[in-house]
């Protein structure tokens, strides 16, 4: 559509003067293409969504100087039921000499407050679907131009289809209304980065398996096992047949010293995906700790591991330990 319009304008343009007509025509056409570049965004607010949403309960933290990161993160953390201290959030995400906050630290800090940050797909409809579902969306914006960016974090809390507007908590403004077209450009020029921050067990409105598994696996690295168990239980309702979900459940249960339950989870992972080596090795390890080494040995020997498998070292060590423990238990063999 953009291209067609540019071409139409070109044919209406007055005949170029000067010695290089073809070059100037090309230049005019190129300028028009550049100038109309932002017209190609899909800025329609889908008919499938509510016509108007305003998450009025979303708290507001006016930013102090350069503190849009801590302010926006505190806002979404509170909206998810966490009780963060603004100063503590700032202390974790603000980088003084950059006068700003990094996206990765925003994610890490959300996890620090026992919440899970999920990336939202880079489409307007995906962001608004989260808002409709009651999840305020933390976004990155570029308030200037690509070559001279001015980065800013804000929280989308509503929209209005009829008036083509997006409603945000932004900077020092509790209710900032932005025309959807400008909003889209500011978001697009910041690589369309958006997250929702949710309580363990909750999932985004339109959960994609890849985004959820990534978020939960990252959460797994430092979170409390009780929260991890809740998070994977939520995912299990959505993807009951994914081996990784049962792997996550098993690891959380193991951390909670529930080894029998952990073993069940790893078995379930293997039932859906017999070649899942992490689940198989974990099951064998748990059986060893449950003092059932011969059973563990059976589990580990039920499949042959490729010699170049990345977990071959773990496999080798565990096999030896299982064999020794099994033989020690049955001297006759």
């Amino acid at each position: 559509m953009t291209r067609r319009r540019a071409r139409a304008k070109r044919s209406n343009a007055p005949p170029p003067l000067g010695a290089w007509p073809s070059i100037s025509v090309a230049a005019v056409a190129a300028l028009m293409l550049l100038g109309s570049g932002c017209a190609s965004f899909d800025v329609r607010i889908p008919e499938s969504l509510e016509p108007r949403v305003d998450l009025t309960d979303t708290p507001f933290h006016p930013q102090l100087e350069h503190h849009c990161g801590p302010a926006a993160l505190t806002t979404v953390l509170e909206a998810s039921g966490a009780r963060p201290e603004y100063e503590e959030v700032a202390d974790r995400v603000y980088v003084p000499d950059l006068k700003g906050s990094l996206q990765v630290e925003m994610m890490a800090t959300a996890r620090n407050f026992d919440r899970i940050p999920f990336r939202v797909p880079g489409e307007l409809s995906a962001v608004l679907a989260e808002v409709e579902a009651g999840h305020p969306v933390l976004i990155l914006q570029n308030l200037r131009i690509r070559s001279l960016p001015a980065w800013h974090y804000a929280v989308v809390v509503g929209y209005d289809r009829e008036h083509k507007e997006i409603l945000m908590r932004s900077g020092t403004e509790r209710e900032l209304t932005t025309p959807v077209r400008r909003w889209m450009r500011q978001w697009d020029w910041a690589s369309r980065w958006a997250i929702v921050v949710l309580e363990p067990g909750d999932l985004p409105a339109e959960p994609s398996q890849a985004a959820v598994f990534r978020a939960l696996a990252d959460f797994d690295e430092n979170a409390r096992p009780e929260s991890r168990l809740r998070a994977w239980t939520g995912a299990a309702e959505h993807w009951p047949d994914a081996a990784l979900v049962h792997m996550g459940l098993g690891n959380a249960r193991y951390e909670m010293d529930r080894r029998e339950a952990a073993a069940d989870s790893f078995r379930q992972a293997l039932a859906t995906q017999p070649e899942h080596w992490p689940a198989r090795l974990n099951l064998a390890q748990v059986l060893l700790e449950l003092d059932r080494p011969c059973e563990g040995l059976q589990v580990i020997k039920a499949q042959a591991m490729d010699y170049d498998h990345p977990l071959v070292e773990t496999h080798g060590t565990l096999s030896i330990r299982l064999e020794q423990a099994c033989n020690a238990g049955n001297p006759s063999g």
Binding site: C68, L98, L102, M107, A108, H152, N251, E313
Partner: protein
Amino acid sequence: MIASAARNTLILLLLAAMTMPANAQLVSTGDALALESGQLEQRIEAFLLRDDVAAELAQYGISHEKAMDRVANLSAAELEQVAGRINEMPAAGDGVIVIAGVVFVVLIILEVVGVIDIFKSR
């Protein structure tokens, strides 16, 4: 050939060290996910970047101790994303820019209505 064998051995040793630490004996969920996409080696290597990222962060006005504490929360994928290029990442802070923009708009308005004459046309 020999170099690649040595590299593989190193990675296997690292893997053994990373995936089976003394206390947690299990393969982590993160390792399992990385394995599914064939990125377990990158993941292990990314964890080795943690000290570098902390040192880099400490150059931007954060004490070394606090930087260590902060990077401890970054996942492997996040470490990989920022390592060596913290100054290239968008660090959103805002404030100054809006003021500059307002000043510019005011100047334009004053120019158009003829109160001031910065952009001399004749």
